[in-house]
Symmetry: none
């Protein structure tokens, strides 16, 4: 993709994120997104196959960035404990700093069709796999219980963090999300040992 094309591609995704955050999933017409991006409706279709394609791309791009960030941080970690703390730190910090992204991914995109959510699921997978890798590493290091059910535990970790973010959003962000990191990690680590 040329830089010019990439530029407008990003412009539309950014507009989509803002419009969905402001109007909700069902209130986000293509015309609104185009207007926010300052282009004609038809132009959107030069960059995306259809509406669903915008949403999937949006999720892929943003989640891809997050996963890169996760990977980089985890590589710097000296132990599974530290890696897990990094995971939770980034998870909570990034979503607290990008409320629009948090709102769209946690609340709005979950009302989309099964089709779309399956595609989104694929974007989440690398993240789940990263958690899995950390768990395996922890068991090998001897810092996590050897009888840990990896497949089950990764769900308990992801589901726990996910629900904390959800609750924080639905509450109207009345408290700090990052302030929950220490206790969350503590709970996880105790459960893993």
């Amino acid at each position: 993709m040329t830089s010019r094309k990439q530029e407008k591609f990003d412009l539309i995704l950014e507009a989509a994120l803002k419009v969905i955050a402001e109007n909700g999933f069902h209130g986000s017409q293509i015309s609104k997104i185009a207007k926010e991006a300052g282009i004609a409706d038809g132009t959107v279709y030069l960059y995306f196959k259809n509406k669903e394609d915008i949403l999937i791309s949006l999720f892929q791009q943003r989640l891809g960035d997050l996963v890169s960030m996760f990977n980089n941080s985890v590589q710097e970690a000296n132990s599974a404990d530290e890696a897990l703390r990094k995971i939770c730190e980034i998870h909570f910090t990034e979503l607290e700093q990008n409320v629009n992204l948090a709102y769209v991914t946690q609340i709005e995109l979950r009302q989309s069709s099964l089709e779309l959510r399956k595609a989104i699921g694929l974007s989440v997978k690398p993240y789940i796999q990263l958690i899995e890798k950390i768990l395996i590493q922890g068991v090998q290091e001897g810092s996590f219980r050897p009888d840990l059910d990896i497949k089950l535990t990764r769900l308990l970790l992801f589901g726990g963090m996910d629900e904390v973010v959800n609750s924080w959003l639905i509450s109207g962000r009345k408290y700090s999300l990052t302030a929950q990191i220490d206790k969350t990690v503590e709970f996880f680590l105790k459960g893993l040992k």
Copy 2:
């Protein structure tokens, strides 16, 4: 509500559950639900204000039944540990036995509008509060850590179980959900101590 009214009220909710489980949220038109219930489209509106009202009522009724069941079981428990185990047991057992209910509440109803999901949230609240009560009890009993953040922990527990159910459904129920109870509770208890 007269018994006659209650009867048809329940009939419609039952039809709705079946139709949504079979056709998905977006494929469940009022006409389909009415047909499944063996009544005319218009009759639905004699018992429910609108479509959203059906879904909220459905959730309230079924989740209300579950919460009663939770409450009864928990009262019989002799310790917080045992109560928590009961919670997880019922959560996984009931949803494994009522796949339609599981599918509709975990997958389909989450595609509904923010409005609807807020109402649904109210139905989930008593459950979350029950978990909270158990946590407080456990701290008082001395079996759970005294420094536990109750509000945060209840989310981690609920979110963890929720994600396990979700993953089980999305996987196509290829393994036993109840078989996850022991390890899930173990992880939770370790984290709580």
Copy 3:
């Protein structure tokens, strides 16, 4: 179909015929047809699957009526010669008397999709087959040449009449179509003997 349903079904087809005749195929939106019929747009879809279904039904109904008329008249004929004359008489007379129908079937519907025209072709088939039957009868009676290629000749007859009607319409109906019957039949009969 109940009489009430049939009534509105016919009402919509009548409206469609008028609207297409007045606005052309591409200028005939569902909304225009509904307005002409005095009903809401959505009501159209209680009686027809989609726009194409209206057009096919229109053609089937009107051509079905014509074919019935052809069949009845032909049965009364004492010879193949007379039957052929009847065919041409009805063909030209009916279309001259129903200019809207003529215009729509000859001009407008021919700009439709291949799909639609295939369906329409099925409606025309019984007519072509009737001509074929007359030709066979004529050969058996000894009034037509025994070496006649039936499949080819039926096309020459149908195509000839079709083009005469076409030309009459495109000319703006500046002359009488029925006045062409005698000479047309004369040409055909000579060619057949």
Copy 4:
């Protein structure tokens, strides 16, 4: 028109014929035609006023070539009978040898707007007039009936041949079109005498 201009003009028409034959009238976007011609979309508009102009030009060019061919052959004919046979021969032979042209003119271009078809009608006119000339000649020669209605008969001849070609195309060209020449001419000549 300079030779350079003429060259690209022809290139576009050739591309249009191929694209329409392969994709149907409704599947033939300007972008497809431009791509087939190896030029940019906008370049098309340096040579043609609009899309309709391409189609009209295509028809004019190809039908013009055919009419020239008709004229040349007819001039060599020694009698009206022979001329008529030549007409039918060329009509069937040329379309059998140029299936793309046959398909586009007989099937695809007929789905176009009334506007376009009127313009196309102008291109067909010289052909109809040629048939007319032959008929007049035949009457003068004494080989055709003196009471022949020239205007009507030319339609019967053209319409007959047109329908035979149509039917051959729709059938999927399962038989030889040129094999129909003899019997078609025989039918015509008998009808004319």
